[in-house]
Symmetry: C2
Subunit: 446 residues, 2 copies
């Protein structure tokens, strides 16, 4: 393996300031897509740059043959903005290598990880002359801004993108050297509520006591969302929840991530998991109703004795298999309307949603991925984890292409993705290249 | 009575843009104080302009004689800002007289009302050559910014300001031609609470379910402030509440202000008075716990799935006799600490407070004021009302000077004080001048 050449590739890739949200970098986005296309050409794959109303999507493929599986490898070449720039200890677009740690914007998220896939293919071809299966790369430039043009692209190119499995390296790795497979993600369902009272802000001295205060009403309404034990009190909310399986509870209990670590990472006064579950189980495998924002009335310094006309709250539900997001939003709306205090009116606005995702890690491709993790990161058993967050594209792959996704992340807990001084270790870069070579071999066996 | 000359005086007074909160008007404040002093000199009183660290206070007095009562007449010459200026139909500082209605900033609040007092003295002197009692005018220029220098002034000039009763025209008049005496005001006690959870904002996907969400916690905490009937649920809150007297409930029931009017004025979906009380009784004579503001987490468009580090609320209590503001704040703090959900910490910051005020309207000076109202506004029985708001200076007069206050307001419900197109009717201006002549006579009889 030519380590210096790989690092040179990564540094070139990282030097392109491909900030998708900033229109000043529009040309850099094109340049980054061209860089990828050139790299694919150089290693013998057929690239194509697809313009979209936003930033281009790059695809690449080897010569496909019938009778062997097709893997679609997804990633993104766009990066998060870099502000606040003054918190960076070096130029975010001039990669710094020190003590085996690469510091640059996009180092882990996602340039380092997607390049490890590409270089895995390069190394495999260098060693074997030919890939053992059909490969499609799909690399977008709008992941950090919500992938607005990816779903239409999937629908439009459904036939060219037909595959048997998707592989993504864009999730977490529990600790250095411990291969990590994320086989489940929570879903999400969002809504906003507005509680309206008087038709204008009122003086709380003149009218206080005569009418319902929207702030009091919204608080009382929110308080009905959970019971005294912290369980969601919406009727029917848990009806479709798939219980955690015994094997996963046992496996998770053995992971290096303990409840004490979660307490420490959150800086919360104490943990408050659902009764009967560990904090880790709650974040990975139990549904929630969370307030994400609440506001109304006076927020400035001191006091202003007003009864505001309205109060607002943003609520999101994290969902687990087999909860249906639309059903949950309907149940929530019914609950809120039923419990809205008298004297105010309630408006519920449904927001975006996406179902939870869970792959049986012991299907053939799952076993193949676990073998690849074991071989690429020997010495530690691969971790089988779920994550509490949501990756909508995974559900889209399932819905549009009809395939499952292997999430084989290389992002260490201290990689500072989305923050100043983002890092990627050379160890994980090289491990990722190794992993992706082996993964091709193992997936080909299915 | 020289009506045109009085209107000329009022228009001169109104033309001075004495906006206390705006430092650009500092010279106008001095000019306004000088205008008052000149007016007092012109009618034969001895004025004095007292500089303060803020805007000057103007006092004036006649030649005091022993053996007769002393009335202190309080008012203010500063006015509210005028923005949004584009909502004014005429220049706020160029008074417009149309159909008996004067439109200008400060027309009712408080230039028209305090000038009616001054012109009452002028008319009395013109008719009788001498006042029947000792008069002290005390006119400040910082009422609209919280009277920061008035209490120190009262303390410093306690001896010169010694009096038997205070008279103020700065409250409401129920309807045209109905003399109105406000004999009670609610008190106030403010506090802010902060509910703190994690030491930084967290991703609700990654950590949701493991910890207590401060927004949920603050909502549940606020929900404990009232019982299911809307009564304040703080233990001991009602212990010192003086019940409404039968005579006042009967008198208020006969007033032109009905619950339907309150519903209409607030634009609320419905009224929510305390059980056993009318909405009017609740606003004038019952204590409340009101939320004035609440905030935490994401408030922008769409959703951001965050568990915020903290949530905040501003709470104020409206108090009635004989609740003690300090005691109420202590009871509230105890209640909040006791009911704070686990997993978060609570900080309570006490704010400003002031006791409720209630004058027995049938003491001698009260009877005198009622007689003056009857004589000045014949045809309708004077209204005896309380108000739901707080006027801290009234409690300060009681505390520092040891005297009661007669609140004889001329502000009609549609006077638009603090709003664009503030008005004062010529009828109320002339009625006020008439009232204040008679008031001098009636108070002198005590």
């Amino acid at each position: 393996m030519n380590n210096q050449s790989h690092l040179n590739d990564l540094f070139e890739f990282l030097r392109i300031p491909s900030i998708s949200t900033d229109s000043a970098h529009r040309d850099d986005m094109q340049r980054c897509a061209s860089w990828l296309a050139a790299k694919f050409t150089a290693i013998g794959l057929q690239p194509q740059i697809h313009q979209t109303p936003g930033h281009p999507i790059v695809t690449a493929r080897n010569a496909h043959k019938t009778g062997r599986p097709t893997v679609l490898i997804y990633g993104h070449y766009d990066v998060q903005p870099v502000d606040p720039l003054n918190l960076w200890h070096s130029n975010p677009f001039e990669p710094k290598l020190e003590n085996g740690i690469i510091t640059a914007r996009g180092a882990t998220d996602n340039k380092g990880q997607i390049l490890a896939h590409i270089l895995g293919v390069q190394e495999y071809l260098a060693a074997n002359g030919e890939l053992p299966l059909n490969v499609i790369f799909l690399i977008e430039g709008e992941e950090e801004i919500g992938s607005p043009h990816l779903v239409p692209f999937l629908r439009e190119h459904q036939r060219e993108l037909a595959c048997d499995i998707v592989a993504i390296s864009d999730t977490g790795m529990l600790e250095p050297g411990k291969g990590t497979m994320t086989y489940g993600l929570r879903g999400i369902a969002c809504l906003e509520i507005t509680v309206s009272g008087p038709d204008k802000d009122l003086h709380s001295g003149i009218y206080g006591g005569a009418i319902t205060n929207p702030l009091t009403a919204i608080s009382r309404l929110i308080a009905t969302l959970h019971d005294a034990n912290g369980k969601v009190a919406i009727s029917g909310f848990y009806d479709d929840v798939a219980e955690l399986e015994q094997w996963e509870r046992e496996a998770w209990a053995k992971l290096p991530m303990k409840d004490a670590d979660i307490l420490n990472l959150t800086g919360s006064p104490s943990l408050a998991p659902e009764k009967g579950y560990s904090a880790l189980e709650c974040t990975w495998g139990r549904p929630t109703a969370e307030l994400n924002g609440i506001y109304g009335g006076y927020q400035g310094e001191g006091s202003k004795t007003v009864i505001p006309s309205a109060a607002h709250a943003k609520i999101s539900f994290r969902l687990v298999p087999s909860q249906d997001p639309d059903n949950i939003l309907s149940l929530a709306e019914q609950h809120l309307q039923k419990h809205c205090p008298p004297g105010v009116t309630l408006t519920v606005t449904k927001g975006h949603s996406g179902a939870a995702y869970r792959l049986d890690p012991n299907i053939g491709f799952g076993k193949a991925a676990q073998r690849a993790l074991s071989l690429a990161f020997p010495g530690k058993d691969p971790a089988l984890v779920r994550e509490g967050g949501s990756i909508p594209i995974v559900a889209d792959f399932k819905k549009i292409l009809g395939v499952d996704t292997l999430l084989l992340g290389l992002a260490l807990p201290d990689a500072r993705i989305h923050s100043p001084n983002e890092t990627f270790t050379v160890e994980n870069f090289e491990g990722g290249i190794r992993l992706n070579q082996i993964l091709l071999q193992e997936l080909a066996k299915q």
